[in-house]
Amino acid sequence: MNLTINGVEHELSSPPLGSLLAALREEVGLTGAKAGCQQGGCGACTVLVDGEPVRACLLPLAAVDGASITTVEGLGTPEHLSPVQAAFHQEYGSQCGFCTPGMLIATHALLQRTPSPSRGEIEDALRGHVCRCTGYVKIIDAVEAAANGATAASGAGA
């Protein structure tokens, strides 16, 4: 199976009924998407498939043959955080960080679709993402900040 992952083409030999998540983590070595509940209920494995946020744990590899995948590693780098990553950093939108990759991917997709979401729209977009640390308020603040571009310029290392 051939996939483009974060802009790089890969030919994968993981089992076709294995999850995209397992292939990403165990064959490609990209461990940003987290293996949390592995039944679609926590959101930590969320990646973009052809631009749409999906649960990598719920997709068999065979179903995404030929697709373009973006994981959290494809959003930005430690030196050059994406605007969403920078906003989460600046607004304290992450504590233990386990849910953060899924939150970042879902937020990235939301802002592509809806550049100025209401708080209710943010809550709807993140409803499937479980965070046991923050109580969500700072995460939603971070999404609003990213939407406002408040932190986009200051970015990394702030």
């Binding site: 089992p15 076709p16 009924l17 294995g18 999850s19 397992a22 592995q38 039944q39 679609g40 209920g41 959101g43 969320t46 749409e52 946020p53 999906v54 649960r55 744990c57 719920l58 997709l59 068999p60 065979a62 179903a63 043959d65 879902a106 709807d124 977009a125 409803r127 499937g128 993402h129």
Partner: protein, 263 residues
């Protein structure tokens, strides 16, 4: 193009049909075939090893994801994503908006939801009751060829022996939906009542989801809440039979009131 067939080291065959005809041929009579629509129900079973199918039919590329209006009927392909049903005729639209979360709704399919079996301690298939209430019909393939039958008859049979191709719902009925709130986005419906009436306000149909392992039609005279007496109410981790028994007439009354108000 010929269908792609890959065999894994564990001798599991994966079949990816590229058309409706290929899907029907690959399903055959359904013997030993496990069908995957969006994967949201089946993938956790495969990953955990609870299900080890010999032959899996992945429907994502079979072209079953179209919707078209045909007179006063909407024909919805089995592969249509739940996210694309959020504006469907009521009460189907409301029920679709309440399934899982945004990502789950954009992966999960109508056919998968219709054929969902109950989980270990909860019902699944939250769209079954709205479809029963609308008087929807299912076209399926399998042994004996293609059948068209009402959703409740389809569910009363063995859905796993049929390949759902499409569902037809009327677009000229008025619908209403009332449910017990879910504890969180990933809970299945504890109890929900769907109802609809024909264009002239008669021909009331009511159905309940969450009352038991499968959705059921509430067929009391004119939706008399007492009609719930005949429904076997589940007692599970989400709600007791006592609670469901108290709530069912309340939800029926809300649906009837909504249907009257919007007349």
């Amino acid at each position: 193009m010929a269908r792609v067939s890959v065999t894994t080291s564990e001798e599991q065959a994966v079949v990816i049909p590229r058309s409706r005809e290929e899907a029907v041929a690959a399903f055959g009579a359904g013997d030993g075939v496990t069908v995957m629509g969006g994967g949201t129900i089946l993938m956790p079973e495969l990953t955990s090893g609870r299900v080890r199918p010999e032959r899996v039919l992945l429907l994502g590329r079979a072209g079953l994801d179209g919707q078209k209006e045909d007179g006063a009927r909407l024909v919805i392909g089995a592969g249509v994503r739940i996210a694309d049903l959020m504006d469907a005729p009521e009460p189907l639209g409301t029920a679709a908006r309440r399934v899982g979360d945004a990502e789950i709704r954009s992966q999960a399919t109508l056919g998968g939801n219709l054929c969902a079996t109950a989980g270990a301690d909860y019902p699944r298939g939250d769209l079954q009751a709205p479809l029963i209430a609308l008087g929807a019909t299912v076209r399926s393939a399998g042994a004996g060829g293609e059948h068209v039958e009402p959703v409740e008859e389809f569910l009363a049979g063995d859905p796993s022996s049929r390949l759902v191709l499409e569902v037809e719902v009327p677009t000229d009925r008025r619908g209403a939906y009332a449910s017990v709130g879910r504890p969180h986005a990933h809970s299945y419906t504890i109890l929900a009542v769907s109802g609809s009436v024909g264009p002239d306000g008669s021909d009331l149909r009511l159905a309940a989801a969450g009352a038991g392992p499968k959705s059921v039609r509430l067929d009391g005279p004119d939706g008399d809440p007492a009609s719930s007496a005949g429904v076997a109410l589940a007692d599970d981790a989400l709600a007791s039979t006592w609670y469901r028994k108290k709530m069912l007439p309340v939800l029926v009354a809300r649906v009837l009131s909504d249907l009257k108000e919007n007349a």
